[in-house]
């Protein structure tokens, strides 16, 4: 039986999965919305991946997880590797574009820039306290303008004169937007203005002080917005590469890391059909009152975390 490796990337907005062979060839790939329920999203993800996968020929021997729910899903899937999304994205992307020097990534609530030289990450930055200029911002503004978020970019592309909009803060941007609508700016110009605002916000905050050199790869859900891609091209004066598999880069990287770990653990596509329960409880044993998270499978605790000290260590 030949071997295969599964990578799962569970983010705030979307859940991604990739199965690769030992030559890093993608055998199956899937993308769906998390909808606030990572367990259910992964259950659906695995069912769909299983359909694309020839279980008679290969077995999944190791799982890697990444994304904000990586620890939880890592516990559930008995993952060999649980890795942060920056490393996973960098590894996934360099395996698709070996010469990449800059990665822009704008997701649902995070935005990041990763700088690579010679295929090695040399620097990165992430948004700090607030989520201005991320996917959540565009979704909110699209809803306000009554435009499906999927059409937002295409509408922006029809504009010749993007409306200037302050995008430093979502709350200010909203009042600015209301004002621009009232003074009669067209939807096209406002959409294009918002795309430009997202890009300026990103370049002036997350990417500030970083040397942006081509080739530039743009990833994350917002990279599907053609209006933002064009605004990035205008502002940087560089070609922006958006890969059709770009949204799978994190999961792809996680799968590669699982393969590299050399650690093999039994995996079953039906694992998520088992009875999993997740609890978050305040510890209460000291003044820190940490929120301790416990994961139970069929009533048995398989993992726990969140405690700052030993007093909060959950008993298995």
């Amino acid at each position: 039986m030949k071997k295969a490796y599964l990578g799962v990337d569970v983010g705030s907005i979307s859940t991604k999965g990739v199965i690769i062979d030992e030559n890093k060839k993608i055998l199956a790939g899937e993308y769906l919305y998390t909808k606030g329920d990572p367990m259910n999203a992964v259950r659906t993800l695995l069912r769909r991946l299983e359909q694309q996968f020839d279980a008679a020929e290969r077995t999944v021997v190791a799982v890697g997880t990444t994304g904000s729910a990586r620890k939880l899903i890592g516990a559930v899937l008995n993952a060999a590797v649980v890795k942060n999304e920056i490393t996973a994205h960098a590894i996934g992307t360099t395996n698709i574009h070996p010469d990449v020097r800059t990665i822009f990534e704008i997701g649902g609530q995070d935005s990041k820039i990763i700088i690579l030289r010679g295929g090695v990450v040399t620097d990165y930055a992430m948004n700090t306290l607030c989520a201005a200029g991320t996917g959540a911002f565009i979704s909110n503004q699209a809803a306000r303008l009554d435009i499906p978020v999927e059409e937002f970019g295409a509408i922006a592309m029809r504009s010749n004169d993007p409306t200037p909009i302050a995008a430093r803060c979502t709350v200010f941007a909203e009042s600015d937007l209301v004002h621009k609508v009232q003074i009669g700016c067209s939807k096209e110009d406002i959409c294009a203005g918002l795309c430009r605002a997202v890009v300026l916000n990103y370049l002036n905050n997350v990417a500030k002080g970083k040397k942006i050199e081509p080739p530039i790869v743009f990833q994350g859900g917002v990279s599907k917005n053609i209006g933002v891609v064009r605004a990035f091209e205008n502002e940087t004066g560089q070609e922006i590469i958006v890969d059709e598999n770009g949204h799978l880069a994190g999961a792809f990287g996680a799968a590669i890391l699982a393969m590299r770990s050399g650690e093999e653990r039994p995996f079953d596509f039906a694992v998520t059909e088992m009875d999993f329960k997740i609890t978050g409880k305040s510890c209460g044993r000291c003044a820190n009152n940490c929120e301790v998270i416990r994961v139970f499978r069929d009533g048995e605790m398989i993992d726990s975390w969140g405690n700052r000290c030993e007093r909060g260590a959950a008993k298995a």
Partner: protein
Amino acid sequence: MTVGIPRAGMYYRCGVLWENFLRSLGEDYVVSGETNKAILEKGSALMADESCLSSKIYMGHVDSLLDRCDCLFVPWLSNFGADGINCTRFRAYHAMISNIYRERAPKLLTYAIDYSGTQDMKHAGDEETAFMSMAKALGRSKKEIRDAYRAAKQISEEDFARRVAQAEAVADGEGTKILIVGHDYSIYDAYIGRPIIKAFQNFGMKLIDANLVDRRQAQRDFRKLSDGTLPWTVSRELLGGVVRYRDRVDGIVLLTGFPCGPDSLVNEVIKREVDDKPILYLLQDGQDGLAGVETRIESFTDILTYHGNGER
């Protein structure tokens, strides 16, 4: 009389001096416990909203001491003459404590460091003179205070020199090394900095505190990264620490409690002037979850180790 010392703010810079001074005089004193969530929440409720995380923590420590001491030790550390000034917060704590506890009016034991002499504090001057001003409050002769101060000063300077030597040894030693740049009251606070330090150490990183430099040398060195107008003493020393250690570390971590005026300038200077090392900026705002911080620490560690191995 029991003196209460808040384990916050300038305690991390002057604590050895303060404790040895009081011990040498045979005074009873108590230092508040390590910062925890209850202290932070209490301090946040007491302090003005827009205060920084560290001053909220400070006030939480003050509150935790009220029932355990007869007077609070709250020095007024304003400026160090040509060596720069302190953050305004450290000139405000008396007024804030007096205002927050108007009814209770806790007794304060204090001395003033103000080389400019322009403030209306009566005993402005150098540190020894400033300590002498506590003679009356402590019911001691000037000689007793002077002897206790001099003994304590020697111990504290030896202690600091020993810590600097340790930092130098780490910088000259093996391993993946990270320079951590932040106020000592952030770095060593049990709620802000220590979980971060522990996380880096769990990844096998060696940490060097940028505060641990020869302070005279740092007062000269900071000008290599910034012009001479940078006002804050501690910020100058941190830049001096960057100059001293930058070539011997693999990466730099900027640790800031939100919001910090001096850090907002100094972090920017470092980000612009140090272009040959990966820099991680960690902004702490009393978040409960450590998940976001863990992501940043893990990925930064990956960068430093993969970089070293040349691995993809």
